[in-house]
Structure formats: structure tokens, C-alpha cells
């Protein structure tokens, strides 16, 4: 833990400013509300996605050799924060963070094929891991069986974020071993059009974003679709867990900041008993407590991003910590924000509900609170 990791450099401050301005202008919460009300499909705005590319954000984790900026996790985290703050719907996280993290293990040819297209925001990728109620890669039952110069896939992935519209799918499948083991897992890249329409069941979930159940029954892919070592995906998944944890924490931090600002503002203007309700100590102390939790969270999230960039030994601890704390603080601030708004807090008219729903949708992804608390304990030797 170095103190400098807690300070933002000029480059980062500029990036934050640019991201905040662009997203506030091009993708305010009202835009997401409109997409939801009009049931636009896909839920994200294609023009906005192109802008993510033009701003260089899609290439932040991509090596320069493949057209990226290699700006790193500090940069990506800032974008995620601003996305959370503005409740932006985008394939950014699945494509430019999760998929790019896994593709780094792919062959040179695969990287040359996909990474420049991602940098240019010309393609989208979804990562299909989960099969049950939560994140448990060791329980992967989807299989990939080698037949000649092909793999034959078998089984179904559930709740795949971005799975309804992504052009490519990265699929975690078992090439050996049995359910319950992290050994024998492999990753494959599958063009989404390899699936029949009937094999994609889109889901309507609480945050009204794009999720799908995907049946890979009978899908055949070439050997070149294998990402990295056959049977070696366990280690790649562990890395993805860190990355996904840090950046979902970043997104949650942005959500929490937006909710808290709204709440403090409301406490100042809402009057009851002939006084602004923010003058009542019962509410002041709850607001002050939220502030302390949010600032502690901010320190932990900044540290997790820095730990990823610096490839620190304790990065898994840092990332799991950020994830656990972000989920706790999001629950606290989400429920308190609704409560402090009183009756209007439970109406759809207020954006508060939209933020709350996005926050709870981030609970199971790449490990829920229990998963990461347990991971933290194991990493700490108990």
C-alpha cells in the first residue's frame, strides 16, 4: 500500500472530468429511463458505444500493440464510477473489461482479430460463466468435448450479462474433471450467431438491462476457439474475479455517490414540523454515518484499482475487500436513501429506485458478499 496510490495524477483527473462531462451530457439517467419506458432493444445506445471507443475508454486495458491505450485499471475504474453515477447502460463492462481481461490469454491471432474491434467499439462480447443461483465456476456443468478438429458444446449458461445482444460470447466450459472442481475448465470464444434464436432466452431482470440464458446444445466450434490453455481457465477466472470485483465496486461507488448527494440535498429542502428534516439529529447522524462509510469505501476502491495496475501480491485481498465493502455500503445507502425520501422514495417517478435496482443487480455477479468475504478469509490464512 503506497500513499501515492491514493492520489490521482493529472491524467486521471482529466479523464475523470472528461468522463463526467460526456456521460452527464450524453447519457443522463433520463436517457436510461426513456430506454426502459420505450423498451428499446438493445438497451444501450449504439452511438454512445461508438463514443466510448472515440474517447479511448474501450482500449484502456488493451495493449498498445493491439491499438489500445494501456491506461490501466485506475482509468477504467474512473469510467465505471461515472457510469454508476449516471446509470449508464453499456456493453462496456462485459466487453472492454471482462472480455479483454480473458482475451489477454488468447492466441496472438485471436487477440489481433478481436482486440482492435473492441478498441474501435465495433463489436461487443459477453462472458458466460454462471449456471445457477450465483457465481460458482467450480460447478460448471457445460462441457466442451473434442471431436476431431472441433469442440462440441453441451449445456446451458444462465443470467449472462449482455448475452442477448453481444456479437461474441466467451464461454466457460468443462473439458475434463467433474462438477465441483476448478481443474479442467476451459474458455472458448463463440460467435453469437452460432446459436439459433431459440437457444437465446432473453430475461427481464430488475435493472432492466440485457441478460439471457444461452443454450450451447450442439454448438460446434473450431479448436482455435480455445482461449489459453485447455484446462487452464481456473487461473484466468481468478484474475477475472479480481478485475470484476474492483470495477463493480467502482460502479457501485458511483451509484452510492449519486444516491448520497440526492439524499443530502433532500434533507436540506424537505420541511416537516416547520423545519428542514436535515436539521433533526436523528437524520443527521445517519447521514454522517453514511458519509464515513462512503469515504472508507472510496479509499478501498482506489487501492484495489492501484493494486491491479501494480500487480501487487495482495491484489486479490484488495479486490475482494472492495467488492464486499461496496455491496455493504450500497445496501446501506440504497435503503437509507429510500427511507429518508419517505413516500416519494418508493415511487417510480424518482430516480432513486432506478439506482437501487442497478445496485442490487450487481450483487451476485462474479461473487456475492459471502463469496468475497470467504475469499478474503482464505487468502488471509483462516
Amino acid at each position: 500500500m503506497t500513499a501515492m496510490s491514493q492520489l490521482m495524477g493529472d491524467e486521471e483527473l482529466q479523464l475523470r472530468g472528461a468522463a463526467a462531462e460526456m456521460l452527464r451530457k450524453e447519457s443522463p439517467v433520463s436517457a436510461f429511463r426513456r430506454q426502459r419506458d420505450d423498451d428499446c432493444q438493445p438497451r444501450y445506445d449504439a452511438a454512445l458505444w461508438s463514443q466510448f471507443g472515440a474517447m479511448g475508454w474501450t482500449g484502456m486495458l488493451v495493449p498498445e500493440a493491439h491499438g489500445g491505450l494501456a491506461f490501466g485499471h485506475r482509468g477504467v475504474g474512473l469510467v465505471c464510477e461515472e457510469m454508476g453515477r449516471n446509470l449508464v447502460a453499456s456493453p462496456f463492462v462485459a466487453t472492454a473489461i471482462h472480455a479483454v481481461t480473458l482475451l489477454a490469454h488468447g492466441s496472438e491471432a485471436l487477440q489481433a482479430q478481436l482486440l482492435p474491434a473492441i478498441v474501435a467499439a465495433e463489436t461487443t462480447v459477453a462472458v458466460a460463466v454462471d449456471e445457477g443461483r450465483g457465481f460458482a465456476p467450480q460447478n460448471t456443468a457445460v462441457t466442451a468435448v473434442r471431436e476431431g478438429d472441433e469442440y462440441l458444446l453441451h449445456g446451458t449458461k444462465s443470467f449472462v450479462a449482455g448475452g442477448g445482444h453481444a456479437q461474441y460470447l466467451i464461454v466457460l466450459a468443462r473439458t475434463s474433471g467433474s462438477v465441483g472442481e476448478m481443474q479442467g475448465l476451459s474458455l472458448f470464444i463463440v460467435p453469437a450467431n452460432a446459436l439459433e434464436a431459440s437457444q437465446r432466452e432473453t430475461l427481464n431482470m430488475v435493472d432492466q438491462l440485457d441478460y439471457a440464458n444461452l443454450s450451447f446444445e450442439g454448438v460446434r466450434i473450431p479448436l482455435s476457439a480455445l482461449i489459453g490453455e485447455e484446462g487452464g481457465a481456473g487461473a484466468y477466472m481468478d484474475e477475472l474475479v479480481d478485475v470484476a470485483a474492483a470495477h463493480s465496486a467502482s460502479e457501485l461507488l458511483g451509484i452510492v455517490d449519486a444516491l448520497f448527494d440526492t439524499t443530502v440535498e433532500y434533507l436540506k429542502v424537505r420541511e416537516q414540523f416547520d423545519a428542514p428534516i436535515g436539521s433533526f439529529q436523528a437524520l443527521q447522524h445517519r447521514a454522517a454515518l453514511m458519509f464515513t462509510r462512503i469515504e472508507l469505501l472510496r479509499s478501498v476502491v482506489l487501492d484495489a484499482r492501484a493494486a491491479l495496475d501494480e500487480v501487487r501480491e495482495e491484489r486479490a485481498i484488495a479486490c475482494s475487500h472492495a467488492r464486499v465493502m461496496a455491496l455493504e455500503v450500497a445496501q446501506l445507502v440504497g435503503t437509507e436513501t429510500i427511507q429518508m425520501h419517505g413516500g416519494i422514495g418508493v415511487t417510480d417517478e424518482l430516480d432513486v429506485g432506478l439506482y437501487y435496482k442497478r445496485a442490487i443487480a450487481l450483487r451476485p455477479t462474479y461473487g456475492d458478499r459471502s463469496y468475497h468475504r470467504d475469499r478474503y478469509a482464505r487468502l488471509s490464512g483462516y
Binding site: A3, V264, G278, S279, Q281, A282, H285, H321, M325, Y382
Partner: protein, 399 residues
């Protein structure tokens, strides 16, 4: 780089000058406290003190003109880190160092600085703080101790309570009421009182920890020369506020007292509870509690670092330091509670050879640390400050 050079210089000097015996945690009996009867538990402690004193590093940030180290805050932090790195003991303890000296630098006149600062640096006089009164705790500005001007003297009557080291200290810096008619914060002055003046009496207060860390002090017609007034008459509240910031900073950075057990909670858990066949802590609930506590501690530590890092940046967030006293003291209390859970019966020993020193200390710390979130502005006062100064919430509603 200059910083790197300074760090190197400090490291080499400490290496050459800090005796090996002074590189391990000091328990209560091994600490060196200022005072007219400055005493040393060992020759090494004396040597270490004298060497640090001669560098001015007993008070790193006091200007060299007064015998201090003349370091800027960043250099002082480097010194502190380098001392921690080798486990070097704090060479001298005194409330004057932590609180009065910064206040004198900000508000004292030149004569006061010249008179009091060199003594503080050299540990020749011990100081205590006279703020709280039996009727003025969280509502500090409601204090009633009176100081009435009589010629070149003030005549002081009243009582102070919760005075740390009050029975042993040579001098007290305190708040007194000089104008009972003014609004309560505008009638307070900051006065320095020699505790050997006739009319001062003191009594220890026995605490739940068994310690008598605090004292109650009474003043009966105590005569104090007017030159002991710091800042202007009736403007003592400004001094008090500045000084409270130092006190809270000190309390939030306080990394455990002399009684803190030498084990970490994780070590204690592994030792007293142990691992099951799968390599997990055998008590699942305690395992969860330990995860929570370790995360909390880590978050507080990272936030402390962020506060410091900010001071070096261009636009520090002034709201951030306001949370530190609250979060660090509340976290410390949680840690103490968990330690007692982990130790079971062995953590309940009051005294005697049946228990290890760490076990006994663990219990005393549990009890002693309850004061952390009361002294120096209660946790509730801290939350008031956060809601007022960080969140700018409107004041004046129902309390």
C-alpha cells in the same frame, strides 16, 4: 531527490543512534514521560531520549529556535515512518508535546513560546489539559470555572475533570470563563496554570479498567499571573478549537496504547481457536467477525493514508479528516471486543500469574478503550461535526 536523501539520512541516524533495547514496544513502566522529576527506566532509555532531544526530534515540528527539530509535516512523517520501521520507541511522552506546543506556535506570544517551548522539547515539564468539567462534557463551551481579574493576576475558582495525568503533571493548560455575561463561547479564555500554586488540589478517578488515568482537579482562589493568558482574553475558544484538532488527529493516529497485546487478532484467533481439518478457523462465526474487523481496519488504514496523501496534493478534501476520530476509535473498540471473544476465559483474568501479560492487557485495553470514543469529543459530537461541516446540514432542529 531531496525527500529520498532525507529519508536515507534519517534511516542512517536512527540505525546508528537507537539502542537495540529501544526498538521494541514499551509497556507503561518503560515509557518516558516529561516532568520536573524526569526519570528513566533504564540507561538505554535515557541515552535514546537524550540523543533524540539533542536533534530536536522529541518534537520534530517545533522550530529549531526553540530547540525543536524544525521539520516540515512531510519530513516529520518520514521520521515517524522510519521510527516505526525499526520499531523505535517514542522517546518522550507529554500532552504538552501533542497539544499545547502546536497551540502556542499558533496563538502564543513570543515570550510564552520562549518560556515554555524549550522546556517541552527537553521534557523538563509535564502538561495536562483542563477542559472538561463535572457540568461540561460534550457541551464543553458550558464550562463554569471562573477566572476573575485582580490586578496582575487572575483568581481562579472551579473544577476540572477527566484530566489525563492530572495527578502527576506540573502545569495545566485550561479553559476558564472570564466573561459570564457573554454568549458562552465568547466568554472563555485559555490559561496556563502552575499546578504547584496554592489552592490547587487533585484526586485520582478510578476507572472500570482499574487504572487511575484521570484526575479531578479543584481550584480554590488560585492566583495566576496575567502573562499566562494565551491569545486574547475571551478568545480562548479559538485556541481550544485549534487544539482540539491536534487532539483528534493524535487520537485518530494513536496506534494502540502501551497496554495493547503484542498479538494481532488473526494470530490470537489461530492460537486460541485454531484451524479445522479443512484449514479454516474452527469457529465459523468468529471467522466472519474477524473478516469484518480486518476489513474495517484495512479501510481505516487506507483512509488515513489518503488523508496524508491529500495534504501533498493540490486540492485536499477538507471533509475527509473529519471522519478519522470517529472511525478509528470505533474500530478500535470493536477490535477489543473481538479479542475478548477470541480469548474466552483466558481473556477475563484481572491479574495474577495464571494469565499471560497479553491476556491481562487484552482485558484492560477492552475497558480502557471505552474512553476513546468519549474523550476528545464523543462519537456523537463527531457525527454532529460531520453533519454540520462536511454535509452542511441545517442546524437548530430537534436534538
Amino acid at each position: 531527490m531531496e525527500q529520498t536523501e532525507f529519508r536515507q539520512e534519517v534511516r542512517e541516524w536512527l540505525e546508528a543512534n537507537c539502542p537495540p533495547s529501544q526498538r521494541q514496544p514499551a509497556d507503561r513502566t518503560e515509557q518516558v514521560w516529561s516532568g520536573r522529576d524526569l526519570r528513566f527506566p533504564s540507561d538505554d532509555a535515557r541515552l535514546w531520549f537524550e540523543r533524540m532531544r539533542d536533534k530536536g526530534w522529541t518534537t520534530p515540528e517545533i522550530p529549531t529556535a526553540y530547540g525543536g527539530g524544525g521539520l516540515n509535516p512531510h519530513e516529520a512523517q518520514i521520521l515517524s515512518k522510519e521510527m516505526k520501521r525499526i520499531g523505535a520507541r517514542t522517546p518522550l511522552y507529554d500532552h504538552g508535546i501533542w497539544m499545547l506546543a502546536p497551540a502556542l506556535l499558533e496563538f502564543g506570544n513570543e515570550a510564552q513560546r520562549e518560556r515554555f517551548l524549550p522546556e517541552i522539547v527537553r521534557g523538563e515539564v509535564s502538561w495536562c489539559q483542563g477542559y472538561s468539567e463535572p457540568g461540561a462534557g460534550s457541551d464543553l463551551a458550558g464550562l463554569q470555572t471562573r477566572a476573575v481579574r485582580d490586578g496582575d493576576e487572575y483568581v481562579v475558582d472551579g473544577a476540572k475533570i477527566w484530566t489525563s495525568a492530572g495527578c502527576e503533571s506540573d502545569w495545566m493548560f485550561c479553559l476558564v470563563r472570564t466573561d459570564p455575561e457573554a454568549p458562552k463561547r465568547e466568554g472563555i479564555s485559555f490559561l496556563l496554570i502552575d499546578m504547584s500554586t496554592p489552592g490547587v488540589s487533585r484526586a485520582p478517578i478510578r476507572m472500570i479498567s482499574g487504572e487511575s488515568e484521570f484526575a479531578q482537579i479543584t481550584f480554590e482562589s488560585v492566583r495566576v499571573p496575567v502573562e499566562n493568558l494565551v491569545h486574547e482574553e475571551n478568545r480562548g475558544w479559538e485556541v481550544a478549537k485549534g487544539l482540539l484538532r491536534h487532539e483528534r488527529k493524535f487520537m485518530s493516529e494513536f496506534e494502540g496504547g502501551a497496554l495493547d497485546p503484542s498479538f494481532t487478532l488473526r494470530e490470537a484467533a489461530l492460537d486460541y481457536i485454531g484451524l479445522d481439518a479443512e484449514g479454516r478457523l474452527a469457529d465459523a462465526t468468529l471467522r466472519e467477525n474477524l473478516v469484518d474487523l480486518e476489513m474495517e481496519r484495512r479501510a481505516v488504514k487506507l483512509t488515513t493514508q489518503r488523508v496524508y496523501a491529500q495534504y501533498r496534493g493540490s486540492a485536499p478534501d477538507h471533509r475527509l479528516p473529519l471522519i478519522m476520530k470517529y472511525v478509528s476509535t470505533e474500530t478500535k473498540k470493536r477490535e477489543d471486543e473481538l479479542a475478548t471473544d477470541i480469548l474466552g476465559y483466558r481473556g477475563l483474568g484481572w491479574e495474577g500469574d495464571s494469565f499471560t501479560k497479553d491476556e491481562l492487557n487484552s482485558l484492560r485495553v477492552l475497558l480502557f478503550d471505552k474512553a476513546l470514543s468519549i474523550a476528545g469529543g464523543t462519537s456523537e459530537v463527531q457525527l454532529n461535526i460531520i453533519s454540520r461541516n462536511a454535509l452542511q446540514l441545517p442546524q437548530g432542529g430537534a436534538r
